[in-house]
């Protein structure tokens, strides 16, 4: 070191051996994570894509002709996502509006936020047990897609609640004051001003929720059960009242119970495609959110 310590740019200071090692470790680790994720993605896709044929996506498994197809579980996944969101979005958004716009009691707000936090920390296998005991047995819904829908509704409720709350917080107070000052009633102000302004936050919550539901397996294995062997038939209600498995549950069955890794990787590739799409959508929504900058 030619210069006295503390004078001149600090970065020219000679690194000690320990520092170099730490830098090395940090870079190595970060590079390792990068390589690992890329390797996983490539591995899944190269092993899975050969299995993903048009017939694979559009037919039911046929044990006689020994063909596999995931169409029934694809449909079950869509049912679960659609109907869970149908219930969770209004309740989640409503809850967020209450917390942000109405709640005056600190205790009540803290209680609701605590409850939402607890819900998001409960592992899916426990949702499975609760859903089975409450929806399947007590409400007598049997092991069915409907029980799966209701169980997952509770699971994604805190996600919608939190993202909507975050979006509502970004709406300036002056907007609200302006609307109220012009004589708008509160509900009118919420409907015409806050809801449109927080739409993107709700959308972010919806995308996150879809991701969670697509990944879900443990809970659905217990409450929706069944394997997806047949093409969907009968009325919508009949379909919801019968058991059936989603893509993730089918993947578990193929990989663990039946030892059919080729099909399992085919499903994994489909799931990965969905997850990557959802991640890109999240990014687009987040960018829009900051770009419009309210």
């Amino acid at each position: 070191m030619s210069e006295p310590a503390g004078i001149g740019p600090i970065t020219v200071k000679k690194r000690r051996g320990g520092e170099t090692a730490l830098y090395g470790l940090i870079y190595l680790l970060s590079a390792g994570i990068l390589v690992m994720v890329l390797y996983f993605v490539i591995y899944i896709l190269t092993r899975g894509i050969p299995a993903v044929t048009p017939a694979f996506l559009t037919t039911a498994p046929n044990p006689i002709e020994k063909t596999v197809g995931i169409f029934p579980s694809l449909v079950n996944t869509l049912y679960i996502i659609f109907f869970s969101l149908l219930i969770a979005v209004p309740f989640g958004v409503g809850g967020a509006i209450y917390l942000n716009e109405y709640a005056k009691h600190r205790r009540l707000t803290a209680l609701i936020e605590f409850a939402a936090g607890v819900l998001s920390g409960i592992p899916s296998i426990l949702y499975g047990i609760f859903g089975y005991v409450f929806f399947c047995l007590l409400l007598d819904l049997k092991v069915s897609l409907l029980a799966g829908v209701l169980t997952l509704t509770i699971m994604v409720l805190p996600i919608i609640l939190r993202t909507t709350q975050e979006a509502l917080r970004t709406v300036p107070v002056s907007y609200r004051e302006g609307a109220l000052g012009l004589g708008a009633a509160k509900w009118h102000m919420i409907r015409t001003l806050l809801l449109p302004c927080s739409l993107k936050g709700v959308l972010a919550g919806v995308i996150l929720s879809i991701g969670r539901m697509v990944s879900e397996s443990a809970a659905l294995l217990l409450v929706a059960g069944g394997s997806a062997m047949y093409m969907p038939a009968g009325s919508l209600f009949d379909q919801l009242a019968s058991s059936g498995s989603t893509l993730s549950v089918e993947l578990y069955r193929y990989a663990y119970s039946r030892g059919d890794n080729e099909t399992a990787f085919g499903i994994a590739a489909v799931l990965l495609f969905i997850v990557i799409t959802l991640n890109i959508l999240t990014r687009l929504v987040a960018r829009r959110l900051t770009a419009t900058g309210h």
Partner: protein, 321 residues
């Protein structure tokens, strides 16, 4: 995952000014008493209370379903019994409790330092483009379904450990080590993103002051910034612990699922594993025992949640996960 900057010390409750009637601007038409207004207020309150009701119902039904078996078998034999043999009505879950604790602890002990280092890299050292790319990949890692992890673990991690076991002379199907490695990968994204946002929220002057006093970049990061972010990092660790202890499907596919006392290179069965594994063919007391395992897990999770909630309140941490 939305990655907006968190705002420190944002008002936690009470909403914006103008939410309460007292804060309503002077001259605003007061129609708070109108039936529609009151109805909407009630409706929103109901929506908010749904989360509270769900937690209450869950707690009640977990206890109602899991309690009886613990009463019948006895809390001692159930929690401390070493034999799980449903056919002979032996329901001791100690091996599973210990296996779950070992797997979780092992996973957090590996993932935490690794996660902190990567978080420092992301928040402070990485060029913006590389950081953005890495963050995207870590978000992807967080979004991969656990069954897919199970599949990867069974085909990539388990065989490698099998080779190691063969060298050591005791090859088994699945092991605690495989479960730990898989859980490390699964909780890394959580720990990294929570730690990163905690590190980012440390005011820049802290680091600048350390640099001005003559410390190197790394000294300022690891002796000032990271310690200042410790409450956030700790919250990330607790969140990761919760994820690890609750994970079921992925570990089933690599752990071997033998209900014996845990050893690193032997198969283990985690608490979560018995439930999906034996669910389909269990009945009577056996099914109740599975509920009992659920209750045990629920208690663990509630303890973790309460610790986490306490940390969030105390440390002003926000979890963007």
């Amino acid at each position: 995952m939305s990655r907006r900057r968190r705002k420190p010390n944002r008002p936690r409750t009470s909403g914006p000014a103008g939410a309460g009637p007292s804060a309503r601007p002077v001259g605003a038409v007061r129609r708070a008493g109108a039936p529609v207004e009151r109805a909407m207020h009630g409706l929103f309150l109901l929506c908010g209370l749904l989360a509270v009701a769900a937690v209450l119902f869950m707690a009640v039904y977990m206890v109602a379903s899991g309690g009886p078996v613990i009463a019948k078998v006895g809390p001692g034999p159930f929690l401390l019994g070493q034999t799980w043999d449903p056919e002979r009505a032996q329901f001791g879950i100690l091996p599973m409790i210990l296996a779950s604790l070992a797997a979780t602890l092992g996973a957090v002990l590996v993932a935490l330092p690794a996660g902190i280092l990567s978080a420092v890299f992301l928040a402070k050292l990485a060029p913006p483009r590389i950081a953005a790319a890495l963050r995207a990949l870590i978000d992807l890692l967080a979004g991969i379904p656990s069954v897919v992890y199970g599949l990867l673990g069974a085909l990539l991690i388990a065989p490698a450990i099998f080779r190691l076991q063969t060298v050591l002379g005791l090859p088994t199907r699945g092991s605690l080590l495989a479960a730990i490695l898989l859980l490390v990968i699964m909780i890394l994204p959580t720990i990294i993103s929570v730690s990163e946002s905690a590190i980012r929220s440390v005011p820049a002057p802290y680091e600048d002051a350390a640099l001005a006093l003559g410390s190197t970049r790394l000294q300022s990061l690891f002796k000032v910034t990271v310690p200042a972010a410790r409450s956030g990092i700790a919250a990330g660790a607790v969140l990761g612990t919760g994820r690890a202890i609750g994970e079921a499907m992925a570990v089933i596919m690599v752990a071997g699922n033998a209900a014996i006392l845990p050893e690193l290179l032997k198969p283990v069965r985690l608490l979560t594993a018995s439930i999906p594994l034996e669910w389909a063919y269990s009945g009577g007391l056996h099914r109740e025992a599975l509920y009992g395992i659920g209750l045990t897990l629920f208690v663990f999770i509630m303890i973790i949640n309460i610790v986490l909630n306490h940390m969030i309140k105390k440390g002003g941490v926000s979890l963007d996960v």
